[in-house]
């Protein structure tokens, strides 16, 4: 035994991973609060703790981690420009999303969440739990765990790290999807569908990782890259199937067609603030992982699989745009819109240039802020105590609640990519590299992207017309569609979303510059 090299602990750059450590520490504290704090004070304590943790983590990231670009933990974690940029974006967006989740509308616990997840929907026990002031404040530590997983995901430099990150971010989301206060059966069904398809996609990812390991003899992205560069004899057959399976596993999470089946159901069934969180942050995390995988790990083999992914991108844009036309539920409509957006972002990913990385990152930020605010508004619009998510219920909202309708219209215009909103800049930032460095396929994808944008613009404008130029149907006393008065947290969240949308639309230079400077991957 003495001849063997002794075990040496890996070198760890603690400042590089400090933001993640802060988040997981906050999550653990949150669990302890759930265990020991008295019931009445849990909600406020959790909200304060969660937002505080996220802000503190962001502070640490800006203060220290930005100077600690490093590949640490023996190469399994890479904290580089894109990782830090996306982690920062995740932290800011999730703190905004948590503010929306904390909305109580005068109740005891979070308004969107069931008082007791284990009670039978519609049972007397559920009503009694609501009356007794029970609340599922576990969603806050769960959110922190999800954010932790997302941060791991965007900084994972090893397929095993990436897989564990994927699970850490997914598990809390599956649970949170099933905790809606209203329409609980729908919510539980959504959670089950999301869980089953998510587990299925994890299996794809693992299968791909196994094939890649067979090819490269390592799960380290750097080693995979050098194995591709050297070329191995006889094992090449494993590479392309492996890469495709890995990417398919990741595309499940962003909801690219044909792996989008869970998206509309999960988005509709989940508590609306969770939908916002999921749509914004999961997309950031998953695209972060895709970027690292295809730019760092398997970039050398891209000519073998690029066209397949391009086909998926085109399909995603077309299906997302076309099916959003037929939707009658606002949440489902935004779900299909998010599918289309995933396609637009994929166009940027496939351009394979540094500008593309920054464009994609900018797009993710722009889309994320608008999405969280949009779902926050959907959670405010009510009819008879439940969310008015059917499109027809939104008719005439502009007359009764001009501010709410105006804000929602602005966000929709951003989704559509109208100039002077963040959506336009984002689309430009993602599409331009595809034209310059994407070749014929890139140009084709951009053409399809622009056409799909036009289709989705029609859908969004239709909603705006509905809100402003259609009379609301006659409703009895107490049955009108109203927008509830949001608390300070939700107001802040919506304001941040709107400001980001306008700011990134009118004055995007600084953000594009920041993304551009952060766009260099490290090995």
């Amino acid at each position: 035994m003495s001849a063997l090299p002794a075990f040496e602990a890996v070198a760890v750059d603690y400042w590089a991973v400090a933001p993640m450590l802060v988040v997981v520490a906050g999550a653990l504290l949150g669990v302890l609060v759930e265990a020991f704090a008295p019931r009445e004070s849990r909600h406020s304590a959790q909200v304060a703790l969660t937002v505080g943790t996220l802000v503190a983590a962001f502070g640490v990231l800006v203060w220290r981690s930005v100077n600690h670009h490093s590949v640490t933990f023996g190469g399994s974690v890479a904290v580089d420009g894109p990782a830090l940029f996306l982690q920062g974006a995740l932290l800011v967006m999730s703190s905004v999303a948590v503010l929306v989740m904390a909305e109580r509308f005068g109740g005891v616990g979070g308004d969107a969440f069931t008082p007791m997840g284990a009670s039978t929907p519609g049972s007397s026990q559920e009503a009694a739990a609501a009356k007794a002031g029970y609340a599922t404040s576990e969603v806050f530590p769960l959110t922190l765990f999800a954010v932790f997983g997302m941060m791991i995901f965007v900084s994972a430099n090893d397929l095993i790290t990436m897989f564990v990150g994927l699970e850490v971010l997914s598990l809390p989301l599956y649970v949170m999807t099933g905790l809606a206060r209203r329409r609980r059966l729908l919510s539980q069904e959504a959670a089950l569908k999301y869980f089953l398809l998510g587990a299925f996609s994890s299996a794809f990812f693992l299968f791909g990782a196994a094939l890649i390991y067979g090819f490269a003899g390592s799960t380290d992205l750097a080693k995979i890259q050098s194995a591709i560069a050297q070329g191995t004899t006889g094992m090449d057959g494993l590479l392309v199937p492996g890469v495709l399976l890995l990417i398919i596993g990741l595309l499940f999470k962003v909801g690219a067609v044909p792996f989008h089946m869970w998206t509309p159901d999960a988005y509709q069934g989940a508590p609306t603030p969770v939908t916002g969180f999921m749509a914004a942050c999961t997309k950031v995390a998953a695209f972060g992982a895709i970027l690292r995988l295809v730019y760092v790990g398997v970039e050398g083999s891209r000519w073998d699989w690029r066209l397949g992914i391009a086909a998926i991108a085109i399909l995603t844009m077309v299906v997302g745009a076309v099916l959003s036309v037929t939707q009658t539920d606002v949440k489902r409509l935004l779900a299909y819109s998010s599918i289309a957006h995933a396609g637009f972002i994929l166009v940027g990913v496939l351009a394979f240039s540094k500008a593309a990385v920054s464009g994609v990152m900018f797009y993710l930020v722009a889309y994320g802020f608008a999405t969280i605010a949009a779902f926050a508004i959907i959670s405010m619009v009510r009819q008879g105590g439940s969310e008015a998510s059917h499109l027809s219920q939104w008719a005439g909202l502009g007359k009764r609640h001009p501010v709410v309708a105006a804000v929602f219209s602005l966000l929709l215009l951003a989704f559509a990519g109208i100039p002077l909103t963040s959506g336009f800049t984002a689309k430009f930032a993602a599409f331009a590299p595809a034209v310059t460095s994407g070749g014929t396929a890139g140009v084709l994808m951009v053409i399809v992207g622009v056409l799909a944008s036009a289709v989705t613009a029609y859908v969004y404008v239709r909603i705006i017309v509905l809100m402003y130029f259609t009379a609301a149907p006659e409703a009895g006393e107490g049955e009108e569609v109203v927008a509830l008065m949001p608390s300070i947290g939700t107001t802040v969240a919506i304001t941040v979303g709107v400001l980001a949308t306008i700011l990134l639309g009118i004055w995007p230079g600084w953000a594009l510059d920041l993304a551009g400077r952060a766009a260099q991957f490290m090995l």
Binding site: A6, F7, A9, L28, V31, L32, E34, A35, F36, A118
Partner: protein
Amino acid sequence: MTNPYVPLLILLALGFGFAALSVGTSLVVGPKRYNRAKAEAYECGIQPTPRAQGGGRVPIKYFLTAMLFIIFDVESVFLYPFAVAFNQLGLFALVEMVLFIITVFVAYAYVWKRGGLEWD
């Protein structure tokens, strides 16, 4: 060099052999006097229900117990190599392991305090 699994296989064979022998011997040697009461499940006279309450479904509470078991089972998977290689690994691994155990015990504290282990 003999395969290290040979003793295991022998033990397995011995186990099967012993079980077969015991059951077989009692079949041959034991007295057989059957009556109706002996064939019943409970000798106190209660008949077992033809169908369990709730269509044979067990309460969800068991799931919690099973889940907790899995958590500590998985923990032990990491504990085993840690214990085997403890001498080589040194202080760093000890600290990491303690951190890991503390984190998992946070979950345990939560389940305990919230009454997940109570059975009423």
